[in-house]
């Protein structure tokens, strides 16, 4: 039986969440290609360089916050309902959807206001060119901060629906192990609750009252630190859903089964423990923070490599197992026996491959001393377009080819476009991100409309600046084409009529080594949450205490319009 017939109510919710996610992807992709052409100087006719930053803010917020959060809400709703075999409590889940949607509209209106001359609304000019990181004292319209807060509050409420489902399931199945997908969802949400406290305090306690004029000053370093307390764990909020797909669905798509359920649980527990106390590695070159605290964050960050390295092993081993089930032999020739013509498989596998490259550039970012070379250069967007922009985004698109037929009951339309799409994305990202990494080594900064200066010229370490520019422009354009192909397939599939038999099969095979092999302590959320909180107090307690020693708003800065 197809998922949509089994869980019609949750299917409707998942569809709604996916539609908002894909809408954000469409707008974000258009802004993305405009930026790629603008900053490389290929074509600057769309917007002025001053308005470039409005597009950059919208690109970051729509893709990194809206697309991800809505897609994850949909994926998690499917994962929990399907693995616990029950509809989600729909009042809570729909309340979450609407809160997130209202927040999205508020933030989007505030940002887009900048493109139409920043009219004065409620006594504040309607603009929010503050980028995804919105550092004080640059001030956005209060609606931007309220909107961002509502998106996060909405995601908290969504988590309530998963927890309520788990409690109900537990009371009916007291002796059973929590199914793997639900375990992964709940662990991710616990990590998310802990890490979003930072940005919630920043926005609700400081930025909203300050942007409304209720308090005069905020401490830029303190609010920046609260932002990064959330700003790195948020990448695990994007990555862990991709891991959920790679662990539970990808082995099946490869023709086999997951290698080990217990190790998958260990990986997710490690993320819960280690994700939050690492944020200072974004602040290695910040003044006002003693070196020792940066060192502690560096060691935590390095240990966070462990769950990803374990994942690399398990996912590759599961794919190899799948290939061998299909009759493959040889050390490496089994790679040929994988279903590269299946867009869901090809997308996930290519996303995983690019994530390995992104992981290596991430190790450079985390290296306290070599970070000096690349901090705030184009290397950094080169890195995160491989992680969130490929490991997450390409996995999300790929799994949609498998999931959307199940939540709609309709056959995937335009299959040939879908088959090409992951490869277009892969080639575009290869061109764009390799050039961005090399441009970063040459010192070319990120987040700039025009990376050329009157006083000096950049020189490439490997390759010329002109060649990098062309690669970024072509790569950015191919990524736009990749997003467009995906959206065409999705639009036609959503609009198609039901009928005929679906080619996808939603059942997932049992792992080779099942949950019964894992120690029960892995399911003890209270213990892991408590340890996670202790690690955070060790990493963040002393630095935060020293920052607020001279008052929570000192040294303070009044709002400065951008």
């Amino acid at each position: 039986m197809v998922y949509v017939d089994e869980y019609p109510k949750t299917s409707k919710l998942v569809r709604s969440e996916f539609i908002v996610a894909f809408g954000a992807l469409a707008i974000g992709a258009i802004f993305g290609v405009i930026q790629a052409l603008h900053r490389t100087g290929v074509f600057r006719g769309f917007v002025s360089s001053a308005d470039y930053y409005t597009l950059l803010t919208a690109h970051g917020v729509l893709l990194a916050l809206v697309f991800t959060t809505f897609f994850i809400a949909g994926l998690f709703s499917w994962a929990v309902s399907n693995s616990l075999e029950r509809e989600l409590p729909h009042r809570i889940a729909w309340a979450a959807f609407w809160v997130m949607l209202v927040g999205t509209v508020m933030a989007a209106v505030a940002i887009i206001g900048g493109l139409v001359g920043a009219p004065s609304i409620l006594g504040h000019s309607l603009q929010a060119d503050v980028l995804f990181t919105f550092y004080a004292p640059m001030k956005a319209h209060p609606a931007f901060y309220l909107g961002a807060a509502l998106i996060i509050v909405g995601s908290w409420v969504a988590g309530g629906a998963y927890f309520k489902s788990l409690w109900e399931w537990r009371s009916e199945n007291p002796d059973e192990r929590i199914p793997l997908r639900t375990f992964m969802v709940v662990t991710t949400m616990l990590m998310w609750y802990i890490s979003t406290i930072g940005v919630a305090v920043e926005v609700v306690v400081f930025l909203i009252p300050w942007s409304l004029g209720l308090i005069q000053n905020v401490d830029p370093l303190l609010t920046r630190t609260l932002f990064w307390y959330f700003g790195h764990p948020v990448v695990y909020f994007w990555l862990m859903p991709a891991y959920l797909v790679w662990y539970t669905v990808l082995p099946k798509l490869a023709g086999g089964r997951l290698f080990s359920d217990p190790l998958a649980r260990v990986v997710f527990v490690l993320f819960l423990l280690l994700s939050t106390p690492v944020g200072f590695h974004h602040q290695y070159v910040d003044p006002g923070i003693p070196e020792g605290f940066k060192f502690i964050a560096m060691t935590n960050t390095m240990f966070l490599l462990l769950p990803s390295l374990l994942t690399a092993f398990t996912v590759v081993a599961s794919m190899e197992h799948g290939a061998r089930q299909r009759g493959a032999t040889g050390y490496l020739s089994w790679l040929r026996n994988l279903p590269w013509g299946n867009p869901a498989f090809a997308g996930c596998a290519l996303a995983g491959l690019m994530f390995a490259a992104g992981g290596f550039s991430g190790m450079i970012n985390a290296g306290m001393n070599i970070n000096y070379l690349i901090h705030n250069t184009l290397w950094v967007p080169g890195h995160f377009h491989l992680t969130v922009g490929t490991a997450f985004a390409l996995t999300a698109m790929a799994i949609s080819y498998w999931l959307v037929p199940q939540i709609t009951g309709k056959k995937l339309q335009r299959r040939s476009l879908a088959v090409a799409q992951p490869y277009v994305w892969f080639i575009g990202m290869t061109l764009m991100s390799n050039a961005m990494h090399r441009a970063g080594l040459a010192g070319i900064p990120r987040r700039t409309a025009e990376p050329t200066y009157d006083e000096f010229a950049f020189e490439g370490v490997a390759g010329t600046v002109g060649e990098m520019r062309i690669q970024i422009a072509i790569g950015g354009f191919l990524l736009f084409v990749g997003a467009a192909l995906f959206l065409i397939v999705m639009a036609e599939t959503f609009l198609a009529r039901r009928g005929g038999t679906l080619s996808v099969n939603g059942t997932l095979p049992d792992p080779l080594s099942g949950a019964e092999h894992s120690p029960r302590i892995l399911d003890n959320y209270k213990l892991w949450t408590a340890i996670a909180l202790v690690l955070i107090v060790i990493a963040y307690g002393p630095p935060l205490a020293s920052m607020i020693a001279d008052g929570i708003t000192a040294p303070g800065s009044p709002p400065i319009p951008v």
Binding site: P137, V285, E291, K294, L305, L310, A317, Y453
Partner: protein, 178 residues
Amino acid sequence: MQVHNFEKVWLGVALLLIVGFIATIAYGSVGAGISMVDDSGGTISAQAVQSGETGTGFDDPGVVKQSDDHYVVYVVARQFQFSPGSGDNPIRVPADARITFKVTSADVTHGFSITETNINTMVIPGQVAEVSARFDETGTYGLVCHEYCGAAHHTMGGSVEVVAPSNYTAQQSQEVSA
């Protein structure tokens, strides 16, 4: 719990790799002496920097000679220029001397990075960033604000001119007489 032998080996190699990374970085900071930007610059009022009433070198930013081997450069970053640094007012320092840059902001958060060097710091209002370096090659280096600071962020650049020590004093006295 059942852990496959291959997994055990991989786990061991992964842990070794991580500990190795941490060890090289620890060596870099202790052995090779690469120190981080930290809190040694202290705090300052951004509004006082704006009005030039801090009672420090930031009120008249520029190069201050401490000794023949040590110069301190006070730099104020504001939308959208470095003073000194931007336009026809480059930062001018001698080669082979220890140069300490003290950088702060009069308004929003900026970046301060000198191309082809490891000098790279955030400039956060209320904080003084302090970085020391020695330039062993003369020439003009680029200076970039790498943190988005407003609508004309992309125009916020500058330059650092490193001159031979023998020429440096002559240029300095010229500046004073002019």
